[in-house]
């Protein structure tokens, strides 16, 4: 609703300024010529074409052509400053301007429609890729769980074996829970309108909570986090950003070979704040960065190495950050491993007094 109104106001502004410009230009030119103005007609046809191209729908273009013909007749043809309907070329002028505006409006609408179709096709392709990645990711743990539970139903297992199998089922189930959480976030983001519940959150609270939750999983690494001197209030959907952090931590423990510790660094700039998750593992060659940031949906033969693929996790991070109006980057960490950094828009707060009632 609000957007529609904004669009309408923008169209009105365009309409006024283009036609106003046309009137001014014609005035200047007629001052030079001081006669029946041969330029006015051309100038207004151009104005009508511009209005039709840059506004939405047909109405503005048609209105512009009517105003244009009126102006040409009233101001720029003899008798000046009088409306003369008997002027010989008048019906032709009206017709030409109307046709121009309708043609251009029609073309513009068509181009926009095609753009939307292409965009939708692209999204469809992305969804198909995501679905394929998910199916791959959940198939293996499901098979393992099914196998382990059927083995448990046999009575002949030793208690230790039983414990191992139960432990495996537990881990696999935990993994599946993470995958579904990520999927739910993605669907929440792509469902459209009611997406982000943005609120000013204290960054360190979200970080603290994410670290706490990450440390509940079995193979969690110790995390050293920067403590900003100031209290950073950043507008965000806290639950989703917490998930981004957990995904990034998980990503380190699953993929960074030889990593023993995670560092979390915070950096502020005038209009944004960055959080980077770094490790001291083997690192990732720069050639792979774009693929990883793009969500790392790998082809069949590439994904042999590791079934715990964080493809979904990282692409979820990327889409959550994008929905916040931020972006993700990657580089080598000073700690030796990889650094994944995300930026969020942020405004420096004018500090108001402490205890106010």
């Amino acid at each position: 609703m609000k957007q529609k109104r904004k669009r309408w106001l923008l169209d009105l502004a365009l309409f006024m300024s283009i036609l106003g410009g046309a009137v001014m230009l014609s005035m200047v030119l007629s001052g030079v010529n001081d006669d029946n103005n041969p330029f006015a007609m051309a100038v207004f046809i151009l104005a009508v074409a511009l209005v039709a191209r840059f506004t939405t729908g047909y109405a503005w273009g048609i209105a512009a052509s009517l105003v244009g013909t009126f102006c040409v007749n009233y101001i720029f043809t003899y008798p000046f400053w009088a409306f003369d309907i008997t002027y010989p070329g008048y019906p032709l002028t009206v017709a030409v301007m109307l046709i121009v505006s309708i043609l251009i409006s029609a073309l513009t609408t068509q181009i926009k429609l095609q753009e939307r179709l292409r965009y939708e096709a692209e999204r469809e392709k992305m969804h198909a890729n995501l679905l394929r990645a998910i199916a791959h990711d959940i198939r293996t743990p499901l098979a393992a769980m099914l196998g382990a539970s059927s083995a448990l139903q046999e009575q002949s297992l030793s208690p230790e074996d039983q414990q191992t199998l139960i432990g495996n089922i537990h881990n696999d189930a935990q993994w599946l829970v993470r995958v579904t959480e990520n999927l739910l976030s993605v669907t929440r983001l792509t469902a459209g309108s009611v997406t982000l519940k943005k609120q000013d959150e204290v960054l360190e609270e979200i970080i603290g909570s994410a670290i706490l939750k990450y440390h509940r999983s079995e193979n969690a690494l110790p995390v050293t986090a920067d403590m900003p001197e100031r209290i950073l209030l950043v507008p965000m959907d806290g639950v989703l950003i917490e998930q981004v952090l957990i995904n990034l931590f998980d990503n380190v423990s699953a993929h960074a070979q030889g990593a023993t510790r995670i560092w979390l660094h915070i950096r502020t700039e005038a209009d944004r704040v960055a959080v980077s998750v770094e490790d001291d593992g083997a690192g990732i060659p720069a050639a792979q960065w774009p693929r990883i940031l793009a969500g790392g949906v790998q082809s069949e033969h590439q994904r042999m190495d590791d079934r715990r693929n964080m493809g979904i996790g990282l692409s979820v991070c990327a889409s959550i950050i994008r929905a916040h109006g931020g972006n993700m980057t990657m580089e080598n960490s000073a700690h030796g491993g990889a650094a994944l950094r995300f930026w969020l828009p942020w405004q420096e707060e004018k500090s108001d007094g402490d205890d106010q009632k």
């Binding site: 909570s209 670290i211 440390h215 403590m227 639950v239 205890d355």
Partner: protein
């Protein structure tokens, strides 16, 4: 120690989760009864008078907060809400409607039993309140809230909270173990007319943590429940949480 088995009502529509809860509770020595929808739950509550209620928020026939309100109209039996993640709004609503605590699906047996113990302790012994009225202070780990002198000590040192900061900590301390929603805290501190903008509360909390916690990024005393509110740690958590907090108090 076991005198009479505590009776716990499980309201959950999904059969496997209901079975899991029932089995876990029975194994832990509780008397577990179940209901699979809101209407039958309400009649079970009035006929059996359970000691604690576990309520799933996604019931098919009734809204969870409706059940809470109707139970709260005549009894203060503790209610622990079960809900999925990404339903922070519902959790906050349930807590505001009078639920005592929540647990997020999926959860393990250990976590579940801990929450139930906390909920039961609050009704039976009111241990925290007793301790506060007896000694005028609440202690957890190395932190002590001195209600008589309006100050908070960590390692025996006054951490110099501002009056508003002290009121927030005092409120959380009186309700240790329970999640206090932003709304409840704001209402308690600034009255019912308080604006629902919780930004100022966040800023106070960040400042409290800077004074109270060794590492505010890994808080030990006041936990953040993202999107819902804050919770003060209890002594029992301090002992079980071996990884970050290893404090021994005489």
């Amino acid at each position: 120690m076991a005198t009479i088995k505590s009776k716990i009502l499980v309201i959950e529509d999904d059969r496997s989760i209901r079975m899991f809860l029932k089995t876990t509770l029975a194994a832990a020595g509780y008397d577990a009864i179940t209901a699979d929808d809101g209407r039958s739950a309400l009649s079970v509550i009035s006929s059996h008078c359970p000691d604690c209620i576990l309520l799933d928020l996604g019931l098919p026939d009734m809204d969870g907060s409706e059940i809470i309100k109707s139970v709260r109209s005549w009894t203060s039996t503790p209610i622990v809400v079960i809900s999925a993640r990404s339903m922070e709004q519902d959790k906050a609503e349930a807590l505001d409607a009078g639920a005592d605590d929540y647990i997020t699906k999926p959860f393990g047996a250990v976590e579940l039993l801990a929450r139930i113990r906390t909920a039961l302790r609050h009704t039976y012994t009111q241990a925290e309140k007793d301790e506060i009225s007896l000694h005028g202070s609440y202690r957890v780990g190395d932190m002590e809230i001195d209600y008589k002198r309006y100050r908070v000590l960590v390692d025996g040192q006054d951490i110099h909270l501002t009056p508003n900061e002290f009121r927030i900590v005092a409120l959380l301390g009186r309700n240790a173990g329970r999640v206090m929603t932003y709304k409840v805290i704001l209402r308690e501190l600034w009255g019912p007319a308080a604006s629902m903008d919780n930004k100022i509360l966040r800023v106070h909390m960040a400042s409290i943590r800077r004074k109270m916690e060794v590492n505010p990024n890994e808080p030990r005393y006041i936990f953040t429940e993202v999107g819902v509110g804050y919770r003060m740690a209890e002594e029992t958590e301090m002992k079980t949480d071996g990884d970050t907090a290893c404090i021994d108090k005489g």
